[in-house]
Symmetry: C3
Subunit: 213 residues, 3 copies
């Protein structure tokens, strides 16, 4: 039931992984971590979400353990980014990270949901697994850097976009679409929603307990 | 050896889960997280302890994956709580949370210990699994919210009550009591100890390294 | 392929575990945690790295679940340390912790790498597992205590030493050395590198994004 890993799938995974690794490098540099910290935070951001999904679903071996060139790629990206940051050729801004981050969000939400559906998980659980794949790399990155995860308090829709993309995957799979199209359309939904949310400055509701602090 | 999930067991689990979810909602609202953050922190508080126990013991599928109505219940509770908080009908205080929290503590400590005993774990490990089930939802909730876990520094007995309840379960199981009674008495021990600790303001010893900061 | 657990291996594991437990006790006391917090942070520091390694590699039962005297030893160490701290006979300083910590780092890096090699993991993954075993106890300890992990931002080589020790294990195993010698030489490499790094005040490069904060 699980679609064979086609070239499209692998390309998607690699693009998402590197996008998230880059977000980790930027946050680590901003927190003035050392070279080891940069590599670890990049690795946590890139592999954290998929690893948590696989641990929860008991899928082994983990994707980055089975295909260790993933780890090499992230290490090389870290080296290159650190060298460029030293040489001042590369100054990643919060803004410049939004595009690769939105892409990674959509890609991981779609593939995570599809993997869980392939294991015959119920629809809600599959969508949650997509959301976990897409967001927990960033959540763990922020926890390691001792921050409240931005996914939970920046008030712009983020996990919600992954949630919507996951339901698109569930729906299209149920309608019998081709697996490649399912992933592509689910990922596009989540990514475009995220970019729209940033562009139109949509905001999530917040709560405040009065007289509490 | 593992008792069949009776109606009593399921009722207990649901009560404990919702009590902890509520504690997550309150903390997330206090930290001014957005709607997604409220749902995630509630989910982490409700399912974190049991999930960590199951990952450590390698029990799959996870209880909330197998029975996805757990996740729906927590989502509905979050929706209802957020709606009520908006409408100002619901102002949870630290104090009002103590009763459901003490109940959840006792219930999860007892069922967690019993599950580990059913897998033929040694007594100390089983009790630890009960303590992990009962306390790590709250610990992970506090870590996500970027706080030192209250379980470790509020100086009122909390995990210690779960520890005591766990040993009651071990003792009664060893004496051959009926599984339902074992859980009920273990849970009552932990819950009552916790309520007594709050009422009489028992304090745990602390340490301070002189001249250190 | 996996070497039988000889007396040397067990002695090494116990020494490393107690060294890391002690580092947890000291940090918990410094953060003014209560008695439960001291025990939990000590347990997280002592067992966290090996547990994460085993969860990632899907090795069960976990070592401290299979051999529960590990847990008893750490509990006893906590009791003794708390009693001594109360009586002011024991004032652990940051400096006094450096030796046992460096020893634990080397020992866990070497045994972690060897365990992963024994499961036929690729070289890079095995070394990473050694680094995770050696450093994530401390990382989780710092996360629980709400600090940025010192392993990532104190700018002195720490994980890098474990990394080097892991590659020594890979090389010697590949050359066909006796497993005991492999562990001993790998551990010695990491420990001595760490002590040299502290003594000569080697520093890791850092990055700073200009105009960013």
């Amino acid at each position: 039931m699980l679609p064979a890993a086609t070239g499209l799938h692998i390309g998607i995974e690699v693009a998402g992984t590197l996008a998230f690794a880059l977000s980790g490098i930027v946050e680590a540099a901003r927190k003035k971590l050392d070279a080891v910290g940069v590599c670890v935070v990049a690795g946590v951001a890139a592999f954290g979400g998929g690893t948590l999904r696989d641990v929860l679903l008991d899928r082994r071996p983990l994707f980055w353990i089975e295909q260790s060139w993933y780890v090499w790629s992230v290490l090389l990206l870290c080296m290159a980014a650190m060298w460029l940051m030293r040489a001042k050729h590369f100054r990643p801004t919060q803004r410049s990270m939004q595009w690769p981050d939105a892409l990674g969000l959509g890609l991981f939400a779609a593939t995570g949901t599809q993997i869980a559906l392939g294991l015959h998980m119920p629809a809600l659980i599959s969508v949650l697994m997509g959301v976990i794949t897409a967001t927990f790399g960033g959540v763990l990155r922020d926890i390691v850097c001792n921050e409240i995860p931005t996914a939970f308090h920046d008030h712009h829709p983020y996990a919600v976009c992954a949630f919507a993309g996951g339901w698109v995957v569930v729906l299209l799979q149920w309608l019998g679409f081709d697996p490649d199209w399912v992933v592509a359309l689910g990922a596009a939904t989540a990514t475009l929603l995220r970019l729209a949310a940033l562009h139109f400055e949509w905001r999530l509701p917040t709560w405040k307990l009065d007289g509490d602090d």
